[in-house]
Amino acid sequence: MSNATVLRLQGITKRFGSLVANDGISLDLQAGEVLALLGENGAGKSTLMSILFGHYVADEGSIEVFGAPLPAGNPKAALAAGVGMVHQHFTLADNLSVLDNVIMGTEPLWRVFSRRAAARARLLEVALRFGLPVEPDAMIGSLSVGERQRVEILKALYRGARILILDEPTAVLTPQESEALFATLAQMVAQGLSVIFISHKLGEVLRVSQRIAVLRGGKLVAEARTAETTQAQLALWMVGHAVDAPQRRPAKSVGDAVCVLDHVSTASAKDGGQDHSSALREVSLTLRAGEITAIAGVSGNGQVALAELLCGTRRATSGTAQLMGRALPPSPARLVQRGVARIPEDRHAVGVVGDLPVWENAVSERLRSPVFSRWSWVVRRAAARLHARRIEKAFDVRGAGLMAPARSLSGGNMQKLILGRALLAPEQAEDADNKKYPTRAPRLIVAHQPTWGLDIGAVAYVQQQLIAARDAGAAVLVISDDLDEVLALGDRVAVMHGGHLGEARPAAAWTREAIGLAMAGATQQQPGAGALQ
């Protein structure tokens, strides 16, 4: 491993209005090392990398790549200097081949014929050198997520990247695929490349990197050799104070089935049935009162369809879905009426209407109930604001107040608002005849990625609320890509793959490896068989 400095960030400062996203950050990257950039969401990791890659211009500071200053705000210059970026969300065209995707944009527009033979040879050579086997003529649409990520990395290497930035690369991978990625990275740095590995997962940072830089609140708070640090130390740096993980307590008393799905299938998302993995296929599931059922799986394997089915925004095409003995209504309003609390995956795009004030978002699900409107027509503004204030207080929603647009809330506070809206039953208005909207705690809670993108403190809070709701007798369904969360919350765990849902078994009957195998699509065996060990 040589010690040449390939990248030097000096005093990078970036302000957005009054917010300082990056505050005088200086960082060096050596040739042949993996530097992990660790920090919570909002710590400034993405901003820093966006500056490096030229999407933003820093207010202060300079960047040197291989000793030469990098012009600011110019992604092409960054590419030319040998900086390659693999985004969390892939930028590949599904309907083109691997080779087409790799050479796209590398050839001059006015060249009449594409030099595909030369490009193919070069691609195969790069693939061989770094141990990233690909089939150049395969369509991207037919590849698994892990294979697509490989293509993204090859795309950067093909363009001559000597410094590779990976943004949360394991978020979409099974544990086994992550291992394969780590092996690839080791091979790359052994050949003198440098890698910046962005993550908020402590375990994999320790596993993959040689050095770790920790960002918090826009500042570089610590830098350490990986060998000389521990998980506890990293967590302390990252959060600034010690955080208690929510206490796992087994379910007290498991009650009756609240929601039963029997061989339910759905149409796939929006692509007219192209991608079958995004649809539900003959899914059977029973959710019981007083129990948390957690669904693990690599994202894109039907979790969205399952969540949307139970949130009323997607219909089943076959099979039966029952809620408390009656058919599951395919309508958000009627599900809320019947006591279903829903926490959507994407709080910005689905959870709240960002342009509308906090108080309207706090009652949006129940606006038609007699508590909040007369004859479902005129809004009872006083009652609505009173309830919004109760949510604000009970769930500790901090922001610029009830009148501010919901968009202005931080991710954690927005999630608390959504939790409060779903979980806190409104108090009966005096003159409201409230037969249709029960003013009691929810019977079923559907939480899709409830802690995604939240800081550790907010994660613990949200998880505690879900556990508390379970203890109060609700049936809870948690769908998550995060294996740690599945294991932290689930009383029973099931794994989703390709639109199929495996059997929900007690959490104690699973190992991480067994879940990983099931996530990758290994046939699930009967309980008691080998997969459990």
Binding site: A72, G351, G354, L356, L367, V379
Partner: protein, 354 residues
Amino acid sequence: MMRLERRHETSRAALMLAPIGAVAFTMLVSALLVLWAGAPVGRTYALLLQGGFGSVFAWSETLTRAVPLILTGLAATVAFKARLFNIGAEGQLFAGALAAVAVGGMHGGTGFELAPWLLFPLMMLAAALAGALLLLGPALMKNKLGVDEVVTTLLINFIVLLGVSALLDGPMKDPTAMGWPQSVSLQPDLELGKLIAQTRIHTGLVWAVSLAVMVWAIFKYTVLGFDIRAMGANARAAAFAGVPVTRTVVLVALLSGALAGLAGAIEVAGRTSYVTLDMSPGYGYTGIVIAMLAGLHPLGVIAAGVFVAGVLVGADTMSRAVGVPTYIADVIVAASLIAVLVATLLTQYRVRMK
């Protein structure tokens, strides 16, 4: 190189300064054109202001012109707020005007034998319904089939205008009009009263202002208003929260189309008393400009409507006195729209030079 960066927060000062800056920019751009036409800028603006707002008569003319503009502006506001881009207010206005005459016209002396107090609301209802139904089709096609409503509503305008032309030269033609393509007149009993004697300003202004207040109250105080605002701001989140999407789209289409239809009926009942092809110099399209100028605020539509009407009316006076073509009014309206849109953008983004 210039880049736009999103501001983290919008300051109150920026929100106050934006419209002032927009007006200043508009005056500046228009002044260049006035100079080019060889007229003194100060005098031209003074005449324009005087012609639009300088006397009781000027005000009466401006407000008369403002009535249809406020109504089509409201039609655009309701629809755009829900992200239903109704470009068809022009056609809906004509449909409303024709429906009004069909119900309340003299029919060559053989009209409906109903008392005016019964016939008047029927006439208004028919006009509102005609406009509403004209928008319902495109709205449902958008909702169910994903057909772009900008295209359908725009094209329906041409169909309606040609249809009106055919009717005015055919079944609805006034036999006593010496061959002019115009409809029969409205029964005199059904015409709107004058607000000021010896002027053209009529009680349609009261209608327009009341409807603006009604739309404002719907937006602010009703569940439907929430549905409209939520759907326009984020349709997915609105559907997730239980907003009945199809129902809301239908109601928005009916409301928006009805407002444009009423614009036509009130023009007929308050000003022209019969339908001709030139009764609207593009009020339906100008309504879109007014809605945008008002920032889709129903009460702002009143102010924007009066402003645009004043500029249009004032330009006539100014043109006679200093010889600058009246088209300067169109330039002022267009420039002010662009300036307001840019100013709004700049309250949310900052420009960085590199």
